[in-house]
């Protein structure tokens, strides 16, 4: 306990250095901006910013990238409330009540409750992260290859089976990602596989290329093909002051949202979709004013904004627990963040707290600071962000694709990569069109080679005995959980819950 406190203080000392404060601020700024803008999400942004890692020191760059990851969860609500389209898929629930409140002249309080709720949840989330992460890391130190492999299998299955309308399509996406991950040098024996003799492929296919192709090019093509050209109407921004009644109704929702969001973030369930949905339905059930909810034809219930927004942010903080302590990504954005660590030859995992303790604690400290920055950015300055929504779609998508091409080209100065990016974008459109989730592709591609390595190591240790995954208690638990998870979607679907992914 005391130890954690000391580490955290040291972390603050690093995070408060002017350069790192600046990186945190840039990250929060960018994160909020892309949260507000439709068509560009945190996974894509982090992927496009990866060239920065070539020049900036690890703590600065990672602080910034985490700021983006974090800030996007704040910015998404602005779009949901002011336009009837969620800026991020995790803000879909906010759209229901938030947009309704805005239509009835209460955009200000809706924005305020989501910004303050995000702050409350984010801060509690980071406190929980500071407390739990070292414990999980200690526990994970006892993990051998068998435990890691079974944990990764669990991650694969939850990410691809729980999300989306079809387990089969999720598994197809995962298989595609795993197959892409096979290209390149095998991690144990160093044998090149599926390179077709192309020297560029020995290092594997860059996941940045795949992420940018799927998220930027795929998204742009999909939108130009299928979305109406005229933008929806915008709601007017009103004073952000919340009444006493608003406060009274908001704070329990914030706390409940946090309690739901954090644990869901920390398990590999693919982002903030499920917790925001659960928080929304909880608030609707518990509310003393059910008549305000959209389903009863009301004027918009503030709890329905406060809860999901808090859940969304707590989930972002929770996602950092497995990311930092186990090296397991729980969403596409988290997977790309792992890539950022790897660019510095830092492998997130239980050893991270020992080998790069200073960096991790600086990162955690910067999240506390980032929350304060984001509150300021999102509350008094919300009017400025709302103006981003006036960027016309043609120029917005043109800009996104320009940045996408810089991100891809900048990696290894190859025009061939730009063609490949387009081809992957076309696959992305077909996937979007026929409802194949995209996140399992990214996660499969990053986690696949790691899982293969763990599997082969585990079997080397056990002399080829496959039962090792069921003999060791921790590994066996993960395997049993994996089997259980396969049944979750059936239960959810029976209840009529349709989940979509968070990109």
């Amino acid at each position: 306990m005391i130890e954690t406190w000391n580490f955290l203080l040291a972390g603050f000392a690093t995070a408060l250095q002017p350069a790192n404060l600046m990186w945190a601020f840039i990250g929060c700024l960018l994160g909020t901006a892309i949260g507000v803008l439709p068509g560009i999400g945190p996974a894509l942004t982090v992927a496009m910013l990866l060239p920065v890692t070539a020049k900036v020191d690890p703590s600065g760059a990672l602080i910034m990238l985490c700021g983006v990851f974090y800030g996007a969860a704040y910015g998404g609500s602005t779009t949901s409330i002011l336009m009837n389209t969620p800026g991020e898929s995790s803000s879909i629930m906010t759209t229901l009540e938030g947009n309704l409140m805005a239509k009835n002249g209460r955009a200000g309080p809706a924005l305020a409750t989501s910004a303050i709720g995000s702050f409350v949840a984010g801060t509690i989330g980071v406190i929980l992260l500071s407390l739990f992460a070292p414990l999980v890391a200690d526990l994970a130190l006892k993990f051998g290859p068998a435990e890691f492999f079974s944990l990764m299998v669990l991650a694969f299955v939850t990410v691809s089976a729980v999300l989306g309308a079809s387990m089969l399509r999720g598994m197809t996406s995962l298989a595609l990602g795993l197959a892409i991950g096979l290209v390149g040098m095998d991690a144990i024996a160093g044998i090149p596989r599926y390179t077709g003799g192309v020297p560029e492929l020995i290092d594997g296919i860059e996941f940045v290329l795949v992420a940018v192709g799927l998220f930027a090019v795929g998204e742009a093509l999909f939108n130009v093909l299928y979305q109406p050209k005229d933008p929806g109407s915008r709601n007017k921004l009103t004073s952000i002051w919340m009444t006493k009644e608003d406060w009274r109704r908001s704070w329990p929702a914030w706390l409940r949202g946090t309690a739901i969001g954090f644990p869901f973030g920390s398990i590999p369930a693919g982002g903030a979709e499920i917790p925001t949905f659960l928080s929304y339905s909880t608030e609707r059930k518990l509310s003393k004013h059910p008549e305000d909810f959209s389903s009863s034809g009301g004027q918009g219930a503030i709890e329905g904004v406060a809860g999901p927004e808090a859940a969304n942010n707590a989930c972002s903080a929770g996602a950092l627990v497995p990311l930092l302590t186990l090296g397991i990504p729980t969403s596409a954005t988290a997977a790309v963040l792992i890539g950022a660590f790897q660019n510095y030859n830092i492998q997130p995992g239980p050893l991270l707290f020992q080998t790069s303790g200073e960096l991790v604690w600086a990162l955690i400290a910067s999240l506390y600071i980032g929350n304060v920055m984001l509150l300021i950015l999102n509350l008094p300055m919300v009017g400025l962000w709302a103006r981003l929504l006036t960027i016309p779609r043609p120029q917005l998508y043109a800009g996104i694709l320009v940045f996408a091409s810089i991100g891809v080209y900048g990696m290894r100065q190859s025009a061939f990569d730009l063609f490949l990016m387009y081809a992957i974008g076309v696959i992305g459109v077909v996937m979007r069109r026929f409802d194949f989730p995209v996140a399992p592709v990214i996660i499969g591609m990053i986690l696949g080679p790691m899982a293969e390595k763990q599997l082969r190591n585990a079997l080397s240790i056990s002399q080829g005995d496959w039962l090792v995954f069921f003999k060791q208690p921790i590994a066996a638990t993960f395997m049993l959980l994996t089997i259980a998870v396969l049944f979750v979607p059936m239960v959810l679907r029976k209840k009529g819950v349709a989940l979509s992914e968070d990109d």
């Binding site: 089969l168 742009a220 694709l401 810089i406 077909v430 079997l459």
Partner: protein
């Protein structure tokens, strides 16, 4: 139409399974202590692709993908817009090393904006150029990322 697409997707997945499956025998067979070697993961993944491919094909042939309502089936896709966007991305890829990043990216900007319905290409060119130029300076001069140039570090 939807059915043809779904069958196509299933066949694409099966083709991938074949590509990865046929590559397996070319990999070294040695297994060491683990009992599995470099062949194991490719073989498993190609089997996985084959299984999901067959299941997708069955679904496509028997009433379509499950849990999927094709709400977009009746929306006429804006093919012309998509052509403009594609042209922008592909022209950028083809020209970037010849005319430099700034001009290629400006062209990309104009094409994509045109695809999304902008009717003022000249104005888009100006906006694109003014957006791209400082980004180019940032990357070329500050971050040392080598973006192709037309003349020097400034353009």
């Amino acid at each position: 139409m939807t059915k043809a697409w779904q069958i196509g997707i299933a066949c694409f997945v099966l083709a991938l399974a074949a590509v990865f499956g046929f590559g397996v025998p070319g990999l070294p067979a040695e297994t060491g202590y683990a009992g599995i070697g470099p062949r194991f993961a490719p073989a498993t993944i190609s089997i996985m692709l084959a299984v999901v491919g067959v299941l997708l094909l069955v679904q496509a042939l028997t009433g379509g993908f499950r849990g999927f309502t094709d709400v977009l089936a009746t929306v006429p896709p804006d093919a012309r817009g998509a052509l403009w966007v594609s042209a922008g991305v592909l022209l950028n890829a083809a020209l970037i090393t010849r005319v430099g990043f700034v001009l290629a990216a400006t062209l990309l900007f104009v094409c994509v904006a045109r695809g999304f319905g902008s009717t003022r290409p000249l104005r888009d060119a100006v906006i694109g150029f003014l957006l791209v130029l400082p980004v180019f300076w940032l990357f070329a001069r500050v971050l040392d990322v080598n973006l192709p140039r037309l003349f020097n570090d400034w353009l």
